[in-house]
């Protein structure tokens, strides 16, 4: 149990630092960055929607604080925390998850890929719509969101095997 807290606590800080100092500074095409920090929200074994949303807000806000980006990451973190259970139900019939482990331990590979794709698309859309406000047209925000979601999805697929819950896998 303690190990679990330690692991996800470490993941929280590690992902927010990586997002702020590595992935958030790629600026592909001037503004496109992968949003790898959402991996924490997708994996953390917290099943209370309110608790998950608060964690999503805290994680996003930590990234915002380090990057000086206002509340964009916090807004998108809350959004995918709210949508996580819908995403899980959408990709899989297995609606009962073991509350002690990672919510996606029971998913097949293709279900997991789809789950990553759906939530990274939603998160990127929120980030770039907020970012586009008065800066560039909505169509360009859509394009940026699409590219960012693709980059995020690819990185999530690559990183997941290194952080997945050993209990279930």
């Amino acid at each position: 149990m303690n190990n679990k807290y330690l692991k996800y606590g470490f993941l929280f800080f590690f992902l927010s630092l990586c997002q702020a100092y590595v992935f958030g500074r790629i600026n592909f095409m001037g503004a496109v960055n992968p949003q790898v920090f959402i991996l924490f929200i997708l994996l953390v074994p917290v099943y209370s929607k309110s608790g998950l949303m608060l964690l999503g807000f805290l994680l996003g806000f930590s990234v915002d604080l380090l990057m000086g980006s206002g509340g964009m990451h916090a807004a998108s973190g809350v959004c995918i925390a709210f949508a996580r259970s819908f995403g899980l139900r959408l990709v899989s019939e297995k609606s009962r998850f073991d509350s002690a482990t990672c919510p996606i331990g029971a998913l097949s590979k293709s279900e997991r890929f789809l789950y990553f794709a759906l939530l990274s698309a939603l998160q990127s859309l929120v980030i770039y719509l907020l970012d586009s406000w008065h800066l560039y047209p909505v169509a360009r925000a859509g394009l940026y969101a699409l590219i960012s979601a693709g980059m995020t999805w690819l990185l999530l697929v690559v990183i997941y095997p290194f952080v997945r819950d050993p209990v279930r896998s």
Binding site: A31, S50, M53, G68, G71, V78, H134
Partner: protein
């Protein structure tokens, strides 16, 4: 009341979602204000520490360009020395040197973090309170005005550059001396907007825009840019113009914080009630 609670209970997650989103949106649009308050000190120290390590690693690869820029600045400053000038007028004049006193000093600083593609761009520099930097000091660089110090921690300072939607800097047309305000529409980091230029002011594309010493933040005459496009607001009786900046924020690295030694005195004269 009980009925109301019964109705609201199933929607509690949704209400929490709305509250958190509202808070996040508020932070997004009030960025500079929240930074100014309690979070800045800690965030700047953590950010500054990590970014200055990264900066040290990458600085070596910029040395050549850096040397060229410093040489150019040196050459320009040498040209301003009295020894580099000759007396054009026939009448000899005596310059009483004791009548000149230093008003501005410059604290050199390096940029360790800069954003140029947001609405509210920011700059983090590696000088803070311990080096004499304070809020509302101006920041300039070789080539012109950069911005104004917004918040300071012990070793770092946060600058609101002129390419930020919350920046408002006084400027002046060099040729006609008319005074106006500089702002940024958030579109192109190479172009800012000069607003409220009186419509009787002679102005044409190519005119130089310089800083103004109003508010005692910048010395007068620091270059800003040249007029690109002019539009007339007939209703309000003003011109508005796009200004091509001399400074390329994408390549900016070394800056100077402007310390006005007479600022306290100027403020005292402007706001005599502030002391009471």
């Amino acid at each position: 009341m009980r009925r109301l609670l019964q109705f609201a209970y199933p929607l509690r997650h949704f209400f929490l979602f709305l509250s958190l989103e509202t808070a996040a949106f508020y932070l997004s649009f009030q960025y500079s204000n929240y930074h100014k308050t309690l979070f800045f000190g800690l965030a700047a120290e953590v950010n500054g520490y990590i970014l200055s390590k990264k900066e040290r690693l990458t600085a070596f690869f910029r040395l050549e360009a850096e040397n060229r820029s410093l040489s150019a600045e040196n050459a320009r400053l040498r040209g301003q020395l009295r020894a580099s000038q000759y007396r054009a007028a026939g009448q000899p004049t005596v310059v009483d040197d004791s009548s000149y006193r230093q008003q501005y000093t410059f604290i050199p600083a390096e940029i360790i973090d800069i954003s140029i593609r947001s609405r509210d761009n920011t700059i983090l520099i590696d000088r803070g309170r311990k080096q004499g930097v304070a809020e509302n000091m101006g920041v300039v660089a070789e080539g012109g005005v950069v911005g104004i110090i917004d918040a300071v921690s012990s070793h770092y300072a946060h600058v609101i550059p002129i390419i930020s939607s919350s920046s408002h800097v006084c400027a002046r047309l060099k040729k006609s001396h008319f005074f106006a305000f500089l702002s940024w529409d958030g579109r192109d980091y190479r172009i800012v907007q000069l607003e409220e230029i009186p419509d009787h002011a002679p102005i044409s594309p190519g005119d130089t825009v310089i800083s103004d010493s109003h508010s005692a933040i910048f010395p007068a005459g620091v270059p800003i840019g040249t007029i690109r496009k002019i539009e007339r607001d007939r209703l309000r009786g003003f011109y508005a113009a796009d200004v091509d900046l001399f400074i390329d924020f994408a390549r900016l690295h070394r800056v100077y914080v402007v310390k006005n030694l007479l600022k306290a005195e100027v403020n005292k004269v402007l706001n005599p009630s502030a002391d009471e």
